[in-house]
């Protein structure tokens, strides 16, 4: 604890030198026929004044936080006024209507990037995480409040996390950090420990991935977009909570001049995760007088987790050059991330705990982003390149058993491992390289074409002094015993995409037509090969195509309807094809998963003059998946990935946000989905499972939230924000069942109700926000994954300081 406070003090030390308490309001002024308006007058509450340049752009700097009236006027156009809330840099795009100058004020809504994403032709739930930054939340907590997303964790902070998106799960849902597949970060950067503080937003792509983002995602993906600001700022936070949990974040940007800036994002997490689990089985050895074991029995106890510590740290520094003759934007960044986990249990809770197994990963990444426009911005070039070097360690080697009281048992562990079927002390050493180039060309004002090429290579090697071995020339004088980990495995993937975007009918109708080509080539060692005389390399390659179409029609300014279809696929991962040189055996004939994804939705959004606001999203989805990859037991010790039954999914989603008065916001989301087995790949199957629900996935879940801000509390300008979130997950069975009402109740995960609350007190003049969060207020039993209990009621206190 003391060292964290020290760390906090050191981290806060430079704040006074770096502090600036102002923001920038900028934007573009256009006429209602789309032409930019130069030399328009822009007034910010009479105190700040600006004029648009020849591109219609304006920029008002050094604006203190607060709410202002922004007025724009120009001869021959109606004067426009709107309220602008400045607590960050604000971009406002304004459209002036031709006509008399003295008409009534018109409210113009500036679209955030989040809202722009939400209004795209393809279905994207863009989660604006800024609203959560005063709270101690991770990405996983925010995702739980999105439609169609089920987040399952096997424990507390840092524990194994599984995302289910519109019924698809596991590798079928790809995760990206800043547009790059997160697996390139080698396990050292994961969704389960990234605080919202370092993110701008999280884009949830449902069914379709744009060609300049996606790879081989089967059912969509999540892209975590880190904060990118063009103005000076510094923001830091520290939170302390139950289970000895400490989280520290810091982020900032500094502009050396108009063209060069530097930024940093960093976080540190620590937790013991020592929460109590109720009524779990616990093994007890009954000893004879001589100390030997006569028998073992199982008791039920309330036990505190004792080997679940999680630590992680992350720092990303960037230097950016912008608005130069040779680059609109060039960003060079370096990232370092490290995590280590103790492991407390296997797939589910048994009478034995895991007392020694640990994993660890470290990664360093260098990245370059380049953007440049040509031909009066008709041609836009984007390039992202990434180099990563990661190491990972897996330690599961012991001669001991532990029970849930933390006692070491008398009986020795003859297997030598707690999680795996074999002991392992693997050190992995992975290098990755990825390039993404995309070109957008505006053929006309209404038609553009985007082509994108994504290529990545990964090389994996390592060593395991106690793992499996491959024997060459067995029984001969030339016999050679090799650790297969030391022989590099290589994976290369290439995704080419082309996209045609068009608008018609005065931009009311938007379409996107796209094609993707997927190419995959992997080489590794067949570690189970016997009688080999040379290194038994196996190569797996495949080439496939995907395509799709999206259409959006703007029915009124407030409402649009959109639909999309994609034929897509997902290549098997390295582990799925080649195994893990331990418990997973290879399957070289594994085929890609394939899916036909269809979405249909309508969105209504309206801002009223009294600052009230409403938005409603209704959507449905269909998924028709073939050759789904899943793991099955392979003998008593091992497992193997196979192509399994076809699955059909249909679902309905609703999300809404309502702000009846300025200080109150209500929101909610609702998902109902039916995910059924439509075909079995087992030729001898009786077909009895056809029509049955895929087990272990909830059908219905929703959440409700309310947020109210009390202004001028205790002191002028200070505010108190109170928020409440309720999450509901309906019961579901971990087995394949026809009817939950007649299902075996022992294996039905009961309905779950999670209530969280947060109170934040903001002192704008001191740039401070204090927050108290309470999770699981009613101390309900929460099970995310295979009946593994999640924490009961727990608390955290967070301080945010921003400049």
């Amino acid at each position: 604890m003391r060292k964290y406070l020290l760390f906090l003090c050191i981290a806060l030390l430079p704040l006074s030198m770096f502090a600036q308490n102002t923001f920038t309001v900028s934007g573009t002024v256009k006429s209602d026929n789309g032409e930019v308006i130069p030399f328009a007058n822009v007034i910010l509450s009479k105190s700040k004044y600006g004029v648009t340049n020849d591109k219609g752009q304006f920029k008002i700097e050094n604006v203190s936080s607060g709410t202002y009236k922004l007025t724009v006027s120009f001869v021959g156009y109606q004067t426009l006024s709107q309220s602008v809330n400045v607590n960050k840099n604000v971009t406002v795009n304004l459209v002036l209507k031709e006509g008399a100058e003295n008409l009534n004020d018109v409210t113009v809504v500036a679209k955030t990037e989040t809202r722009k994403q939400a209004e795209k032709v393809v279905t994207i739930s863009s989660l604006d995480v800024k609203q959560f930054k005063n709270q101690t939340l991770g990405v996983e907590d925010v995702l739980k409040q999105s439609t169609g997303v089920v987040v399952r964790q096997s424990g507390g902070l840092g524990s194994t996390l599984n995302i289910n998106l519109n019924g698809l799960t596991g590798q079928a849902v790809r995760t990206y950090y800043d547009g790059m597949p997160i697996e390139l970060y080698g396990g050292a950067l994961q969704l389960n420990f990234i605080p919202v503080d370092i993110l701008e937003r999280v884009d949830v792509y449902k069914g379709i991935m744009p060609v300049d983002i996606g790879t081989d995602a089967l059912g969509g993906g999540l892209n975590m977009v880190p904060i990118t600001r063009s103005t000076d700022y510094l923001r830091t936070s520290y939170s302390v909570g139950s289970f000895n949990t400490h989280r520290f974040t810091i982020g900032g940007n500094y502009n050396f001049n108009d063209h060069i800036s530097a930024s940093i994002l960093s976080f540190v997490n620590y937790t013991d995760n020592d929460y109590e689990m109720k009524n779990i089985p616990n093994i007890v050895e009954n000893l004879r007088p001589d100390g030997t074991v006569a028998s073992i029995t199982e008791e039920r106890i309330d036990a505190r987790r004792f080997h679940d510590r999680f630590r992680s740290k992350f720092v990303q520094g960037s230097v950016r050059f912008q608005d130069l003759s040779w680059a609109d934007n060039l960003e060079i960044s370096a990232l370092y991330s490290q995590r280590d986990n103790q492991v407390q249990q296997g797939t589910f809770i048994t009478g034995l705990a895991v007392g020694e197994a640990e994993t660890e990963a470290t990664v360093t990444v260098q990245r370059l982003n380049y953007e440049k426009s040509f031909f009066s911005k008709k041609l836009k070039l984007k390039y992202s390149g990434l180099l990563s070097q990661s190491t990972d360690k897996t330690r599961d080697s012991t001669t001991a058993f532990y029970n849930w009281r933390g006692d070491k048992l008398v009986t020795p562990n003859s297997v030598g491992a707690e999680i795996f079927g074999l002991p392992t002390a693997r050190d992995g050493d992975n290098s990755g390289m990825a390039h993404r180039v995309s070109l957008q060309y505006d053929i006309t004002d209404n038609i553009n074409i985007v082509v994108s090429e994504f290529n990545y290579n990964v090389e994996i090697e390592g060593e395991d002094p106690i793992g499996v071995r491959v024997t060459l020339n067995e029984g001969t004088p030339e016999e050679q015993i090799l650790d297969p980990n030391t022989i590099p495995s290589k994976l290369r993937s290439n995704v080419f995409g082309a996209e045609l975007n068009s608008t018609f009918l005065q931009d009311k109708l938007s379409t996107v037509l796209f094609y993707k080509n997927y190419n995959y080539n992997a080489r590794s060692v067949d570690f189970r090969r016997q009688g080999a005389t040379e290194i038994p390399f196996r190569t797996v390659k495949d080439n496939n195509n995907g395509y799709g179409l999206g259409v959006k029609y703007q029915i009124t300014p407030e409402m649009f309807i959109r639909t999309s279809y994609e034929r897509t696929l997902r290549f098997p991962t390295e582990n799925e094809v080649f195994g893990d040189f331990a418990a997973i055996v290879p399957n070289f004939d594994l085929k890609p998963e394939q899916s036909n994804n269809f979405n249909l939705g309508v969105r209504y959004e309206k801002s009223m003059n009294d600052n009230s606001f409403i938005s409603v999203d209704l959507s449905g989805f269909l998924r028709d998946q073939e050759d789904l990859i899943r793991v099955i037991p392979f003998g008593p010790e091992n497992s193997q990935f196979i192509n399994e039954a076809a699955v059909e999914s249909v679902g309905f989603e609703f999300s809404g946000k309502y702000r009846p008065i300025e200080n109150l916001t209500l929101n909610g989301s609702f998902t109902y989905q039916q995910i059924e087995i439509s075909e079995s790949s087992d030729l001898s199957s009786s077909g009895g499972s056809i029509g049955a629900d895929v087990p272990n996935i909830p059908k219905l879940f929703f959440n409700l939230g309310a947020n109210y801000t009390f202004n001028n509390i205790f002191r002028t300008d200070n505010s108190l924000e109170v928020s409440w979130t309720y999450l509901f997950v309906d019961r579901f069975s971990i087995n394949e069942v026809i009817d939950l009402d007649t299902a075996n109740p022992a294996f039905v995960i009961p309905r779950q109700h999670l209530n969280n609350a947060n109170i934040s007190y903001a002192l704008p003049t001191q740039n401070l926000v204090f927050s108290l969060g309470i999770q699981n207020i009613f101390n309900q039993e929460i099970f995310d994954n295979f009946r593994i209990p999640r924490p009961g009621i727990n608390y955290n206190f967070k301080i945010n300081y921003s400049l």
């Binding site: 074991v293 058993f401 008593p636 109150l664």
Partner: protein, 428 residues
């Protein structure tokens, strides 16, 4: 101003709170019945496997006929009984916890766990019961021990220290099953951690009365080719003369050590070297690739039944030809592929085996099946043997009368792939 705002939102929040409380009051759980004083002592338990590898289990008071649907049976993550004794089933814990369970069928036809035998190793999978007083299991965490328990009370009554038993390369052993002959218990072994099969079939023998290791029963192979053992349900391996028959599945990997029925004469602790009965080779001497069989069981009339492979499926032959026609070149993955083919390729027949004349007679009226296809063991009821047929077109049991030699379909199963049917009235 603040109070006005509070007033405005109070009704909204109150509505939400009522909604939350209403939902929170219903936990969605079904009531679980309480086991009465009595249990079902007869009837049939039909067990099926779903596409998701979970189990559906349903009780039938009478022998099923026509078409039965088990889709509304009781679901478990797994349900693979190894023994029935006194109408109770003994099996690995259905909730996938380490150890074993004793299950009964209540008068309400529901399934009740009446006790458990926890183990340290989650992969402990074999429990067998001899009679009302003696059963054994292995906790693979203490692989040198065979634990003895009382099946009635589930109390541990002793153990046999098998440390002195021979295991190739001196690695730990796991016991694939336990076969009883009086106070003797025989247990075929594989490697405990990696599941190695050995070049000989090795049975460890212990004595339940003295709780001591006795020795090994070994069928010698050719010294380098693995011979596989089997782990089916139940017992029924002793003929009316007291001879014990121990089946192995032979070598899959080119050693030309064929699957064999081995005889241990009554009173002996060794395999009779002069008794050589290789059913698949008898059925088709030309089947040189995979002449194997499975589900061996001795019928009450002293003859045996088994699923015997009559030929090697073409798809498997092509895999063998892809490695130069030499079985020894097959990789473990290719062997696994061949297993998969043998699960589905309908090249095997249910056969009656005459253990004395060493003859093999396909049972007419029963369609061909995969030699490793599902459905589990046959079960006995009255004078009939009920034989599982799980193929691409059938999911059924056939009734075979050994006295008349007539076989006909008994019932079809819908709702899940059949994995086992048990007659609660029978022990093992």
């Amino acid at each position: 101003m603040i109070f006005n705002s509070i007033k405005k939102i109070s009704s909204v929040i109150a509505s939400m709170a009522i909604c939350v409380l209403w939902i929170a009051c219903d936990d969605g759980l079904n009531e679980t019945g309480i086991l009465g004083d009595s249990i079902k002592t007869s009837g049939f338990v039909v067990i099926g496997t779903t596409a998701s590898n979970s189990a559906l289990v349903k009780y039938y008071e009478e022998l099923p006929s026509g078409t039965i649907d088990i889709s509304n049976g009781t679901d478990f993550p797994r349900f693979f009984p190894n023994s029935i004794m006194d109408h109770a089933m003994f099996l690995s814990r259905p909730d996938e916890s380490p150890g074993f369970s004793k299950y009964v069928v209540g008068e309400d036809e529901n399934f009740y766990e009446v006790g458990t035998l926890p183990t340290l190793n989650q992969g402990s999978f074999r429990i067998d019961v001899r009679d009302s007083n003696v059963g054994v299991f292995q906790d693979r965490a203490t692989s040198d021990n065979i634990t003895i328990f009382d099946p009635t009370t589930l109390q541990i009554t002793g153990s046999i220290d098998m440390t002195d038993a021979f295991v190739p390369d001196d690695i730990g052993q796991r016991y694939q099953r336990f076969i009883f002959r009086g106070d003797d218990v025989f247990a075929p072994i594989r490697g405990n951690v990696n599941g190695e099969a050995f070049a000989s079939v090795i049975f460890h023998q212990g004595n339940l009365a003295s709780q001591e290791f006795v020795g090994e029963v070994i069928r010698n192979g050719n010294g380098f080719s693995d011979i596989n053992t089997v782990n089916d349900f139940g017992q029924n391996f002793i003929d009316p003369s007291g001879d014990l028959y121990l089946a192995d599945a032979g070598n899959y990997n080119g050693g030309q050590v064929w699957a064999r029925v081995n005889r241990v004469p009554a009173g002996s602790n060794q395999i009779d070297p002069n008794y050589i009965f290789e059913p698949a080779r008898v059925l088709n001497p030309a089947n040189i690739f995979l002449p194997t069989f499975s589900q061996f069981k001795i019928m009450p009339n002293g003859k045996a039944i088994a699923k015997v492979n009559a030929q090697t499926p073409q798809a498997a032959i092509e895999i063998v030809l892809s490695v130069g026609g030499n079985l020894a070149n097959l990789s473990p993955t290719q062997i696994q592929q061949i297993f998969g083919i043998l699960f589905t390729a309908e090249t095997a027949f249910w056969c009656e085996l005459d253990l004395q004349s060493l003859s093999v007679t396909p049972i007419m009226g029963i369609p061909p099946v995969g030699v490793f296809s599902g459905g589990g063991n046959a079960f006995f009821h009255g004078n009939d043997v009920f034989i599982p047929v799980a193929t691409q077109t059938e999911n059924a049991f056939y009734k075979y009368n050994p006295l008349t030699g007539v076989a006909e379909k008994a019932f079809d199963v819908e709702g899940a792939d059949i994995s086992l049917v048990l007659n609660l009235a029978n022990n093992n």
